[in-house]
Symmetry: C2
Subunit: 159 residues, 2 copies
Amino acid sequence: MTAASLDRTDRRILDILQREGRIAITELAQRVGLSTSPCSERVKRLEKSGVITGYHARVSPEAVGKTLLVFVEIKLSAKSGEVFDKVRNELLHMPEVLECHLVSGDFDYLVKARLRGMGEYRHLLGNILQKMPASAAADSRSYVVMEEIKETLALPLDR
Amino acid sequence: MTAASLDRTDRRILDILQREGRIAITELAQRVGLSTSPCSERVKRLEKSGVITGYHARVSPEAVGKTLLVFVEIKLSAKSGEVFDKVRNELLHMPEVLECHLVSGDFDYLVKARLRGMGEYRHLLGNILQKMPASAAADSRSYVVMEEIKETLALPLDR
DNA sequence: TCTGAAAGGGTTGATGG
DNA sequence: CCATCAACCCTTTCAGA
């Protein structure tokens, strides 16, 4: 699960699949200089060993009306494990929340959400702040994205 | 490009492809209650109209040694268009930088990077801060992710 | 671990409802 | 806008090296 010794060919396969997730195995095989059988087996091995965790179509946020991208920093005042778990579970089940990370530093959670507009934003903040234990009244700070310079999942693979 | 009037079936297709990007069209067709031809045509239409912007394998960061996830807030002191463009271009071409957004608020750029460890982190910060115009000496603040609660690209599609 | 060939299944496009 | 069907292509498996 954590370092299955990837050779040069594996890394080339991953590099291509990260950018062209629906490429045919035959074409992938040609590009990496293999015939289809071993290429197919390598892909299957990468999937089963957890190196490849899934394949995903990427949908244009604008095309489905999610024109607002915001990051929200959340700071909890009561820092019991119970409070953290409750907040974590709330965020985990909000579909507009695309990312949520527990960070070290000045605050606790960093949340990334794509929203339809300010109405959804108010709703999100309300949900986050109100569904928490009363004793854990949280502080939050939001950053609205004005321009997306880059957004990818593709990890560099040092050929 | 910006709202091609997606019907219920289109949204179901998108919902599935966001989570299973390599599903066979025949199976996708069954799940949404179509035969394969119209399903295939819908997918192709969604691709060509820019609703689906690509397909991507997701690679486990741990499996390729990228165990450190950091967010960096960057604040520029000189805010000319030239400075913004230069910084944007630097960040755009750093492969460890997975996301970069221009935000409104207390700082200017929010950067997300996956790194091999503290060595790469120092290298990244050095690159960011030193490759900028001398007049634009930037301020930065970093947040190390201790736990990833959630990370997805899948947009909710309000069936 | 690879190649090559063969069988099974998926994809695509023409035709018709 | 949808189903059917046939031709083609892809995938997978297996024998052999």
